[in-house]
């Protein structure tokens, strides 16, 4: 029963995740039935709200941008055999980095300030991930526990800073003053308008291009570079890595730094692209969705983009759905995320065995 299951590569990378996602949606459908709503109507409203209008599509792609970043963050650590569940905390700190850069260098022109803000996000996110990485590599503290603790530390820290230090004096809300206008990453409809093309306005901004570039960069790094090879070796066999002259400790820290920097992209999209100020809880639990995205996408950038699109559809469609059918709140998306993590992650073996049983039956019958 525990013998390795040999599946063709396409089945392993496409069919198994697809089957588990379909199963997850069936279970989610049961939940919708359970609260007395029609799952088919819900699905129709969801798709209509997310893909049916230009505006809805814009919002879908906006959320997709968030999920690509956090999904890539989880994936890079995952390739090094690390489970980074600290995306929330890293993105929160990245937001702090953005606010510090943008609100202190207000005199700089946009073409300098925007890259500096992005760098600030990456640096702060990376630093917040580097500490757990270092503690895992050098002190043997379990990365999962430390990243959990760092999530809570980040949320406590940001509350303190926003309430006591960074808040604009007259503002009662715990948020920073607005970022200088030249630091705003242009909205997609503004960018298109510059070329005379009119598209519906939404929160979607040019950070999407950065996310796609990051996905390509991660692909190059993991599958086409020496460092990426080292990361994968450490992830699959740290002992072999040592024999190959690779220092697992060094690779662990590097992988966590990259992971934290990628998680920072969430803050870039949300804050520089849309909110234009630092506020509490802008990460909205997306760091955990990143885990679902990475597991579903098999930690491969292409898979992550597709999984991010799916979750973008769910988040945008879910918001529209909650508007039409108040019984189905947006928490439905969290439920679906949870089921996908359970099915595509923890119960992966079960679904592989199911797929194998169906696929290999004819060959077995012949033999």
């Amino acid at each position: 029963m525990s013998a390795p299951i040999d599946l063709p590569k396409w089945a392993d990378t496409i069919l198994v995740p697809a089957v588990s996602v379909v199963a997850a949606f069936l279970v989610a459908g049961l939940v919708v039935l359970g609260i007395g709503e029609n799952p088919l109507t819900a699905t129709r409203l969801l798709l209509q709200g997310s893909l049916g209008t230009g505006e809805g599509l814009g919002f879908t792609l906006f959320y997709m941008t968030d999920f690509i970043f956090v999904g890539l963050a989880v994936a890079v650590a995952y390739h090094a055999g690390l489970f980074n569940i600290g995306g929330e905390g890293q993105a929160t700190l990245a937001g702090l980095g953005i606010a510090l850069v943008l609100n202190n260098l207000t005199f700089l022109p946009g073409f300098l300030l925007i890259p500096l803000g992005i760098l600030g996000a990456a640096a702060f996110g990376a630093a917040w991930a580097a500490v757990p990485g270092y503690l895992q590599a050098k002190r043997g503290s379990h990365i999962v526990i430390t990243t959990i603790m760092f999530n809570w530390l980040a949320s406590v820290l940001i509350v303190y800073l926003l309430v006591n230090v960074l808040r604009a004096p007259q503002n009662m809300n715990p948020e920073t003053p607005a970022f200088p206008p030249q630091s705003h990453i242009p909205f997609m409809h503004e960018a298109f308008a510059a070329f005379g093309i009119e598209i519906p306005s939404s929160q979607l901004n040019l950070t999407l291009l950065l996310a796609l570039a990051a996905a390509y960069g991660v692909w190059l790094l993991i599958y086409r570079s020496r460092l990426g090879y080292a990361i994968r070796v450490v992830g699959s066999n740290p002992t072999a890595a040592v024999y190959a002259g690779i220092s697992p400790a060094r690779i662990i820290v590097i992988a966590m730094v990259l992971s934290g920097a990628l998680a920072g992209g969430l803050a870039v999209n949300e804050l520089m692209g849309y909110q234009h100020r630092l506020l509490l809880e802008f990460t909205s639990g997306y760091g955990f969705v990143g885990i679902a995205v990475a597991l579903m996408g098999r930690a491969h950038p292409v898979g992550i983009i597709l999984a991010s699109l799916l979750f973008g559809i769910l988040y945008q469609g879910g918001a529209e759905l909650a508007f039409e059918q108040p019984a189905i709140t947006r928490d439905m998306v969290v439920v679906i995320g949870g089921i996908i993590i359970l099915f595509a992650g923890a119960l992966d073996g079960l679904f592989r065995r199911l797929v194998a049983r169906v696929m290999l039956r004819p060959t077995l019958a012949k033999a």
Binding site: I85, I145, L347
Partner: protein, 301 residues
């Protein structure tokens, strides 16, 4: 600060430490058997919701408690199925449990009561009344769980086997004892304890369920477990310490201390997390988990 204040502070510390303690002992049982459980938070949350909903529906806090335990045990069994039978990644399963709990309680609560995910306020028999020294029976139940856990794990044959399965499952298997059976038992006990923790939150301490009312308590319990180095009596100490910190942070709000000035609440709130990170880094002693925790058991290896 006069003696009366100290008694009040002790009282509120105890009150705040009870959900941590029950959840921490839950983690202890699970991890001692080799199943890592970061889903304490989620199990507490479903228990809190189920307890409040059942207490409201049946007008009985006790039925609420039973429903809370049942809901938590169901989630524990999902985790057990993934971790033990399917040899899945236990961390991933724990994350899934937490997300499922957060989403399901909010959506079902909203669908049933239409009050933004809250249950209606509980009153009278729907809540646990104070029985002794101004504390409800759940407080004593959680406290009692400490010596029981210590005795059963440390002084009985079952406890020995359960600890062995968390250190060296192959040896236990060789002795003809079911690894999966022991681990499932531990996971179910953990579920029941999380059920008590959750029920305490919604039908003991508060009068009803609020969305996400566990607010990270499951993770503080996890921190306490590490702090206690996976032992029952120190778990009591760690949970009481973290409860005390929370009580102090509530009392100190807006009060200037002599010589220190006003201590930010967040500095005290950060302490449990910070202390755990420092402890894990081996700066003050070491915390070593059960050797086989987190590792699925494969017979043939």
């Amino acid at each position: 600060m006069n003696p009366g204040d100290l008694v009040t502070l002790f009282d509120s510390s105890l009150r705040l430490s009870i959900p941590l303690l029950a959840a921490c002992l839950a983690g202890l049982w699970s991890e001692k058997s080799g199943v890592v459980d970061i889903g304490l938070e989620g199990k507490m949350l479903v228990a809190a919701f189920a307890a409040a909903a059942a207490a409201y529906a049946f007008n009985s806090a006790w039925i609420g408690l039973l429903a809370g335990i049942a809901a938590s045990v169901i989630f524990a069994l999902i985790h057990g199925f993934a971790a033990i039978s399917q040899r899945g990644n236990q961390i991933v399963s724990g994350v899934a449990i937490n997300m499922l709990a957060a989403g399901l309680t909010a959506i079902v609560g909203n669908a049933w009561y239409g009050q933004g995910g809250r249950t209606p306020p509980l009153e009278g028999d729907q809540r646990f009344a104070d029985v002794l020294f101004g504390h409800s029976v759940l407080v004593y139940l959680a406290l009692l769980a400490v010596p029981v856990t210590w005795f059963v794990l440390g002084r009985t044959r079952f406890g020995l086997r359960l600890r062995a399965v968390g250190e060296n499952p192959a040896a236990v298997d060789t002795a003809g004892i079911s690894v999966a059976g022991l681990r499932y038992t531990a996971v179910v006990i953990a579920g029941a304890l999380c059920g008590i923790a959750g029920a305490y939150l919604s039908v003991g301490q508060s009068a009803g369920f609020l969305p996400n009312m566990t607010a990270g308590k499951g993770f503080i319990a996890l921190a306490a477990l590490i702090f206690a180095k996976w032992r029952a009596w120190p778990a009591l100490g760690a949970c009481f310490l973290f409860g005390l910190l929370e009580a102090i942070s509530i009392r100190l709000q807006g009060i200037a201390l002599p010589g220190l000035g006003e201590v930010p609440v967040q500095a005290i709130q950060a302490l449990p997390y910070l202390m755990t990170v420092i402890l894990l880094a081996g700066v003050i002693g070491t915390a070593i988990p059960p050797r086989a925790s987190g590792v699925p058991y494969v017979k043939e290896r």
